[in-house]
């Protein structure tokens, strides 16, 4: 049996792990390598690192950090944030990342997904979709929910699948930071609509939320950040439910 995956996410700013609510009120959550190693020991299935620094100058330090992480952990990890070109991806993969995640750059230039899939294989291309309800429709948004796009979440999910995405990282901005549970309806709709794995993100607050998103929404993986960083939920216990 293929297992459902539990994925801690580390938001990285200036080489530290931070976590805020809706991209504000960032609080320091520790050294990313120490956290990553702790998660490996606790049985995390994968890790995701999102660089929220995203200035060109500081991106070189990201590659160094990726390398440092890769030497210390023995499970797969995805790196995202500010990836715009094939060269950006090459640099991260050369330093030991297993997959990369694109979001805004894919919305601005959907052809990028085709290019990345052709160059590196679909298996290493995660496309992140941030979505919230606008006028009654789940709509794709960027910049932490501030900028709506013309895409509806479901049709965009189908389009990126056709373009060669290997996985979808779906974040509901309605649920993110609430700890009230994942967005079951849209996760289920997208998971049913596409043939690639869907990682649900946003809203995890209890063990049962994970159970629900796997069993009711049919997500293939679930991602969370602060509840793991601050030990509100133990990954080990979560794996046993």
């Amino acid at each position: 049996m293929l297992t459902k995956r539990i994925i801690p996410c580390l938001d990285i700013k200036d080489g530290r792990t931070v976590k805020g609510t809706n991209f504000v009120q960032l609080r320091d959550a520790g050294d990313p390598i120490e956290l990553a190693m702790r998660y490996c020991e606790e049985g995390a299935d994968e890790l995701v690192f999102l660089d929220i620094t995203a200035t060109t100058e500081k991106r070189k330090t990201l590659a160094t950090l990726v390398r440092e992480i890769a030497t210390h952990i023995n499970i797969p990890f995805t790196v995202g944030g500010g990836i715009n070109t094939i060269e950006d991806v090459s640099l991260l993969l050369e330093n030991g990342a297993d997959k990369i995640s694109v979001n805004t750059s894919a919305v601005n230039n959907p052809e990028l997904i085709n290019q990345l899939a052709a160059n590196f294989g679909s298996q290493c291309i995660v496309v992140a979709i941030d979505t919230k309800i606008i006028d009654g429709n789940w709509t794709v948004v960027t910049h932490g929910g501030r900028n709506p796009t013309l895409h509806k979440a479901i049709s965009w999910a189908k389009e990126i699948t056709d373009r060669g995405a290997g996985e979808i990282l779906l974040t509901s901005m309605e649920n993110d930071g609430t700890k009230a549970g994942f967005a079951i309806d849209i996760t289920r709709e997208i998971s049913t609509a596409v043939s690639i794995p869907v990682i649900a993100s946003g809203g995890a607050g209890s063990m049962n939320h994970f159970k629900d998103v796997f069993e009711i929404a049919n997500a293939d993986a679930a991602l969370a950040a602060s509840i793991f960083h601050f030990r509100e939920i133990s990954i080990q216990e979560l794996k046993n439910i």
């Binding site: 293929l2 499970i75 797969p76 030991g96 590196f120 679909s122 998971s191 043939s195």
Partner: protein, 197 residues
Amino acid sequence: MKVVIIKYNAGNIQSVLFALERIGMQAIVTDNTEEIRTADKIIFPGVGEASTAMNYLRERKLDELIVSLKQPVLGICLGMQLLCSHSEEGDTTCLNVFEKVSVKKFISGNNEFKIPQIGWNTISSLHSKLFNKVAEQSYCYFVHGYYAEENNLTIAKTDYIQPYSSALSFENFYGVQFHPEKSAIVGEQILKNFLDL
């Protein structure tokens, strides 16, 4: 011991290198024929597309070199598939070390089985030195859209849509469909076992 990782246009070599470092082994990454020929252990990694990878190997005559090797060789993921006879991916004639073993595309009748298979699945019916100290039903990390059928060279099985070969061996050649370099402690044990062969 000289351990060589074959360098070609299929990624994730870095992960293999780091995994070997974690178990205390420095490996050389090279496409140099002489370096490969004189190695004690050879790892043939791979993430990518079968026909592109085979073309690359043929252009550099690495195909002939690989099949002539007499020391232990470990193919990982695409590396394992390229050691088979044929792959449906790009209708590719492969190296035919694992004779008459063909690689097929996963076909899912519904969305219950996502393709590619990405994540942790169990390996069972283990029978090879490669799996010393590895328990039946251990979890390993898989990422693949094509699989090798079960056959008489199968040394580990996994079930996804149907049972298939998650590891193969013939003489000095071994192949694993999963990524030992990303399969936590179990993966490290398998890499150690390979180095101990």
